[in-house]
């Protein structure tokens, strides 16, 4: 059912925007990130003014725009930045060292370094979100990298960079702004899940995606309109997959994203000894959940800067009415019966689970028979113990081999002449992954 027939490859050579395409707007070098869907009538609120996004249509991804004032009010105008974007303070002789530590030059000032590592720990204990901490950092540190004269100026002349949303940028933006919506899934961890499960063209990928659709979208991006990603769920309501709509998926890819309750993936005739769904009102629930799923999330704002840096940029999170006309292709339809039958016959090519609220083993022992033999799997969790228990039980049951629990550790660096060091702020936890390969039960 997922044969290698010709597809319209949306990813091929579409380097410029088009009507209805999803874009990532990076405002002021990462201070604010907005996901938007372009149309002639779409607008973006910058400061207290709405700017039409129309000038962005047809422009290549990577273009810069800035707000200029015309007779009709402010508008976005494309321009070519000079090299100031990299903002390097060059000093050639290696003598000029990070001002941060030059005690001889530093005036006594309790406020200069008022937010410390311990403070951050303490904020965390108080339940502060990562974002609040970032904002506090910016607000408190005289040396925070972004807080340069240049950034101060930007708030009077906002610069908009047009980006194409990919898994990486979507994941990075959500992790910064709404980490709980994606279960704190870091981009490197997500990339490992895709590798470890061998997601490749023509695969039929079973996912349990309780991370808002990020996983589903990431898999669909890799499938590129081939194979299927089946987003399965326990109970009557599908898990939200709004984030998958932020990807720039065309029809070919969207129709390869389907959902199915776990019960429907089993049936009496497939010999897997599973009860049929006892869900008598499933039709009713379907229509409800369908409604919920198809509500368009056409503009999603991820603002990364502290209030005081971009006070004139008031978040715009409601979509303009016109955008509904360029609604994205439908995705996440219920899997058709013939596809389900094919999965029953062949088994899924691989399995990825990102369900931070579920006990792993309870889920895995149910779902495992749906995978083809020799199929690889990758399971993400925020806690180690559920994965350890699951691994142990899979070992005892001789259900899988080559198992490993791993934890990625990612570090970003500031690389500047005479001022190279790891970034002072880091995301210290990317979660755990249990990976392995299913083996034939006998």
């Amino acid at each position: 059912m997922s044969a290698n027939k010709p597809q319209s490859d949306l990813f091929e050579s579409l380097r410029s925007t088009w009507e209805g395409c999803s874009v990532l707007l990076d405002i002021n070098d990462g201070d604010r990130l907005v996901f938007a869907r372009l149309s002639a009538g779409a607008t973006l609120k910058i400061g207290n003014k709405n700017c039409s996004l129309q000038p962005l249509l047809g422009c290549p991804f990577g273009s810069f725009f800035r707000v200029e004032n015309g007779t009709q009010g402010p508008y976005l105008s494309r321009y070519t930045p000079s090299t100031e974007g990299n903002n390097v303070l060059e000093k050639g002789d290696g003598q000029s060292i990070d001002e941060l530590r030059d005690n001889r030059a530093l005036v006594d000032n309790n406020k200069a370094q008022s937010l410390t590592g311990e403070d951050i720990n303490e904020m965390r204990r108080l339940g502060a979100t990562g974002d609040e901490i970032v904002e506090a950092l910016i607000a408190n540190s005289a040396t925070f990298e972004k807080k340069t004269v240049f950034s101060q100026q930007k708030k009077y002349a906002p610069i908009v960079l047009l980006r194409r949303p990919f898994t990486r940028s979507i994941c990075e933006a959500y992790l910064k702004k709404y980490p709980t919506r994606i279960g704190f899934l870091r981009m490197d961890t997500l990339s490992l899940l895709l590798s470890m499960a061998n997601v490749s063209a023509n695969s039929d990928v079973l996912v349990v995606d309780m991370v808002g659709g990020l996983l589903t979208g990431a898999v669909a991006e890799r499938l590129g309109g081939t194979g299927y990603v089946c987003n399965t769920y326990i109970g009557g309501s599908p898990y939200p997959m709004d984030i998958a709509r932020i990807f720039n998926f065309g029809d070919e890819i969207c129709k390869r994203i389907v959902r199915s309750p776990l019960t429907d993936l089993f049936s009496v005739q497939n010999g897997l000894q599973k009860p049929v769904s006892q869900d008598s009102d499933s039709c009713n629930m379907e229509s409800q959940s369908n409604d919920r799923i198809s509500s368009p999330v056409s503009m999603e704002e991820v603002s990364l800067a502290s209030e005081n840096v971009i006070t004139d940029l008031i978040p715009e999170s409601t979509s303009s009415p016109v955008i509904k006309m360029s609604k994205p292709a439908k995705l996440g339809e219920k899997a058709p019966q013939e596809i389900i039958s094919s999965w029953k016959e062949h088994g899924f090519s691989c399995l990825i689970i990102a369900a931070p609220e579920l006990d792993t083993w309870s889920l895995v022992k149910e779902i495992f028979p749906l995978m083809s033999n020799s199929a690889p799997f990758a399971i993400y969790h925020q806690y180690l113990q559920p994965l350890a228990t699951c691994m142990h039980n899979l070992q005892l049951g001789k259900m899988a081999i080559g198992m490993q629990i791993s934890e990625p550790w990612l570090r970003e660096y500031q690389v500047l002449p005479s001022r190279t060091h790891p970034c002072m702020r880091m995301n210290a936890f990317g979660g755990y992954i249990l990976s392995g390969t299913k083996i034939s039960p006998n």
């Binding site: 997922s2 991804f61 194409r164 063209a201 890799r222 499938l223 016959e345 033999n373």
Partner: protein, 311 residues
Amino acid sequence: MLPIDSTKKLSFTRCIRDGDLVIVYERYDNMKAIEVCDGSVLENRFGVFKHSDWVGKQFGSKVFSTKGGFVYLLAPTPELWTLVLSHRTQILYIADISFVIMFLEIVPGCLVLESGTGSGSLTTSLARAVAPKGHVYTFDFHEQRAVSAREDFEKTGLSNLVTVGVRDIQGEGFPDELSGMADSVFLDLPQPWLAIPSAGKMLKQDGILCSFSPCIEQVERASETMRSSFTDIRTFEILLRTYEVREGKLDDFQGDEAASLGSLPRKRRQRSNEGSNVRETTGPPTVMARPCSEAKGHTGYLTFARLKCLS
């Protein structure tokens, strides 16, 4: 290796055939890639395995030797291939590979350039990411290494996705005919700064470059070179820590009923649950995990940059 042809896809009904590439799994630390050939045998410490016994079995099956030893036969994947391939050079492993592919935004249909090919570990994953219709052009300085790599891609069924060229990319740059064609470029070279201008020429507008280097001085110099025509220059390092899982529980020295505080000499409890008489405890769970202490401390720095859009 890749299900480009859907008849090769994993399935309950897809059986191992003569000519298939299989990964023979002895243990986590011992795997081998073998092409199934009807008259052949595999001989290892577990005995003699006849390939003909394997035909008709599903991938993922346990197969036995003439003397009763067993191995598992797995379908090859780029991850398994990385564990069994012949090391002609230092190779990239799964953490760096996965991160590179995601950060380079490589998706089906992309055209990707790589230098050097090395042992082809990254190349295999690049091919998977661009399949079914994209392409990877990979270059190595060494004729001999390129030949071996081509043989490998033939064996793994990736030759339609990968072209291996022999070329000194640091000295000559990438071939002119690929100018402006590449979605992404990956460099694993001792002096990446020499190849960066050429990489810039190859990239489509907004395309992404990655340079992998073990030393920070290489990163500094490469970053410096990138600044003139690239933006969003970011450097990362990624490591994987693995965990050991064991069954057992810690000594709860109060478990001994009515014993006075620690008056008995200590004895390590049995770490197994097999006894019929296992008591409930409030202590830690019987399955415990902790990080392995030995690990790779460094592979290299990954520096990414996006070509500035100046048109």
